[in-house]
């Protein structure tokens, strides 16, 4: 599929060593518009709404921050926030984000998710869940399983 | 044929009436860019004078004993430039060793002398005008002092002009060129009194 310059630029920014040392694409060699399209289909099949997922993740991150770096229980989740000073730019060049990660563990089923402030933004604004093999890849099945949406 | 010009006349002529900068308009780039303040202008003037004197001597020797006998006159441009570059290099090392303060004051101007047209110009005039060795050295020294004088004068004038109500479009290089024009007229105006040839 032909990509617009906007996506071509974003895909360049996602390569390892541009914004983060491991990049956003993992071992995935597909063009990012294909990744986005494919994930949109799966999300739809699973009955997940991008906006709803993003809001839930935002909520869990804010709750997790209250643990001040230690794990904290919130509803059925055990949340642990990791913070580092500094900011990361979005590969779509539409904002900068704090280096905050939250590890979400569902205590009922043991499933976990690792989400960063940037990865929530990519999910919400661009429906981009990152390439397969990327450390911050959000598998739609994992989102459904962990968040129980 | 060696011209019979009196060395003393030659000396003053090369400083004043045949000023290398204002009569021949050689060495303009650094003349304009380094004349913003008196201190740098002074350092550059000194360095140009030293290099000019030494290179005119060496280039005369090479011209007389190598290029003319071997019929290689057409190589004079390239050889003169090599000589100038080497002299600047050596001078730079010596100044660095002897006086760090002077070395720092000259800074980038020192290597820049290599490509100062006035210096190559003087070496070429030696050949055109058939100067003797003594005349060459005096002409080199005189041209250097003339260059020094001219850049100091320009730097001083520019200092004054800075505060003058110059029209916006003429600020900077524009008014500088006009000033140089007036200066040139003043210097050349007396060219009948003294001559380099």
């Amino acid at each position: 599929m032909k990509m617009s310059p906007f996506y071509v630029k974003a895909q360049d920014n996602m390569q390892p060593g541009i914004i983060t040392s491991s990049g956003f694409l993992g071992d995935d060699t597909r063009p990012i518009v294909d990744i986005i399209e494919h994930d949109e289909e799966i999300m739809q099949q699973l009955g997940l709404d991008f906006e709803e997922v993003a809001n839930r993740l935002h909520e869990l991150m804010e709750e997790g921050r209250k643990g001040l770096g230690e794990p904290i229980t919130y509803q059925q989740f055990l949340l642990q926030v990791y913070e580092a000073r500094g900011f990361l730019p979005s590969p779509f060049e539409d904002g900068i984000f704090r280096k905050v990660n939250v590890n979400i563990e569902n205590k009922k089923n043991g499933k976990t998710l690792l989400v960063s402030e940037l990865s929530i933004h990519l999910l919400q604004q661009h429906h981009f869940l990152q390439g397969r093999g990327s450390p911050y890849r959000l598998e739609p099945e994992d989102l459904k399983g962990t968040l129980e949406l | 044929m060696t011209p019979l010009v009196n060395p003393i006349t030659l000396f003053f002529a090369s400083i004043l009436t045949s000023n290398i900068l204002l009569a021949n308009f050689l060495g303009m780039c650094s003349f304009i860019s380094i004349s913003k303040d008196m201190k740098s202008a002074n350092g550059l003037g000194l360095a140009v004078t030293v290099v000019l004197t030494i290179t005119s001597a060496i280039n005369w020797l090479i011209l007389e004993y190598v290029l003319i006998p071997m019929d290689l006159l057409y190589l004079r441009f390239i050889i003169f430039i090599i000589v100038i570059a080497a002299i600047v290099q050596i001078l730079e090392m010596i100044i660095d060793r002897v006086s760090s303060a002077l070395y720092m004051a000259l800074g980038i101007f020192l290597p820049l002398i290599t490509v100062n047209c006035a210096i190559l110009g003087v070496s070429l005039f030696l050949e055109i005008r058939n100067y003797s060795f003594l005349q060459s050295v005096i002409y080199g020294l005189g041209s250097g002092l003339g260059w020094w004088l001219a850049i100091m004068a320009l730097a001083a004038i520019r200092k004054k002009v800075e505060k003058a109500p110059v029209p916006a479009g003429l600020k900077g290089p524009g008014i500088t060129f006009i000033i140089i024009g007036f200066m040139a007229m003043a210097f050349i105006g007396f060219s009948g009194m003294l001559s380099v040839q």
């Binding site: 643990g67 911050y136 | 190598v66 019929d71 190589l75 090392m93 010596i94 660095d96 060793r97």
Partner: protein, 373 residues
């Protein structure tokens, strides 16, 4: 054949060669300063060096890293060094970066002055100490499920001088997809008296390059490098009570500071150390800290669990560390003015603790932490 083809290149070559020889000879004579010595901090270290280069780079070649933000261009003024030998007046490039007092003391920009003679110079001891160390991982110990204690034996140089609370930059080799070696800063948890070792407490951060390496790839016996020591987080030279707060691997600088104070004898000031964790399995060094508390009358260790489990049978403080801190500052810690705050943890934890401390009348200038996490 036209002889010009030979004579022209020959003439240029000969003249060029003569000039080149002239330059090299001048260079040999003029730029030969021979072997010189630089005496740093009156005999603390003596360097045997070749003259002719700027002081900054000469020192760097000998492993003394004077900071320079501009890389020796004379435009940042960071590389100041006090020169005791007479090396002539200040160069025109120096005064813009020096105060009158510095000029009077012959403080110089080390990137601008060349080493042309034997020199005596003075640099801050801290600078003098920053080195790149190589060593061997002697022991890796699990403190909790996600914090490891890494104990490194230094080999070259074999000893380190630092003040308790400083940090080092651990350098790990490339692995898997990570090309190139990576450095991250960690506080040293070993006391400064253990000169031939450094110890770090490293908590696994998901996706973290260095922490992942330490937790999953680092082996005992492997070679490792470190640059340091850096930082000015340290016990202040006052008698004010110290209020220390940490969680997780934030334990590291306090372990070093407390052990260092302990080695110097009975504590001369009250020390309150609040340590937060979630459950008992996230607590570590509990016995060590309690032993220190038993030995040092003026040391109070307050571990607090935010979510103790039933099987923990926890009898200590319960709640977020900020709440416990607030309670102690209001009710238990005796009123003494001024108190000093010492923090080590994530930016969020530091911000939250600074708020609690300032609300309890600890001045912002009396709260100390490293401005990174």
């Amino acid at each position: 054949m036209n002889p010009v083809i030979f004579t022209a290149p020959l003439a240029i070559a000969v003249i060029g060669a003569v000039l080149a020889a002239l330059i090299s000879i001048t260079d040999k004579i003029v730029n030969n300063y021979g072997d010189l010595t630089i005496d740093i901090n009156s005999g603390k270290r003596k360097l045997e060096i070749k003259g002719g280069s700027p002081l900054l780079s000469t020192l760097a070649e000998s492993g003394i890293f004077v900071p320079s933000a501009c890389g020796g261009k004379g435009s940042c003024g960071a590389c100041k060094v006090k020169v005791l030998s007479d090396i002539g007046p200040h160069l025109p490039t120096e005064p813009p970066y020096l105060t009158k007092e510095e000029m009077a003391e012959n403080v110089r920009l080390s990137c601008q002055i060349k080493v042309k003679q034997d020199l005596e110079i003075e640099i801050p001891d801290a600078l003098f100490n920053i080195r790149r160390f190589t060593g061997v991982v002697e022991r890796i110990k699990d403190l909790t499920h996600d914090i490891k204690e890494v104990y490194i034996k230094l080999e070259n140089p074999a000893e380190i001088n630092f003040t308790a609370g400083q940090y080092g930059q651990l350098e790990i080799p490339p692995y898997e997809k990570i090309k190139g070696s990576t450095q991250r800063a960690y506080s040293m948890s070993s006391p400064p008296s253990d000169k031939d070792h450094v110890e770090f407490l490293i908590r696994l951060v998901p996706g973290g390059i260095v922490t992942t390496y330490v937790h999953q790839y680092m082996k005992e016996g492997e070679k490792i490098a470190m640059v340091g020591p850096f930082g000015d987080f340290a016990e202040q030279d006052t008698q004010s009570p110290m209020i220390c707060v940490a969680g997780g691997s934030g334990m590291a600088p306090f372990k070093s500071i407390l052990y260092d104070m302990d080695e110097k004898g009975p504590f001369e000031r009250d020390v309150w150390y609040f340590f937060g964790a979630r459950t008992k399995k996230d607590l570590f060094y509990l016995e060590e800290m309690q032993a220190l508390e038993a030995k040092q009358e003026r040391f109070h260790f307050i571990p607090a669990l935010s979510e103790p489990l039933d099987e923990d049978e926890w009898k200590g403080e319960i709640g977020l560390i900020t709440d416990v801190l607030d309670k102690y500052l209001k009710e238990i810690v005796p009123d003494a003015d001024p108190k000093e705050g010492y923090l080590c943890g994530s930016p969020g934890m530091i911000d939250a603790c600074v708020n609690v401390m300032t609300a309890n009348d600890i001045g912002e200038g009396d709260i100390f932490y490293d401005k990174f996490a």
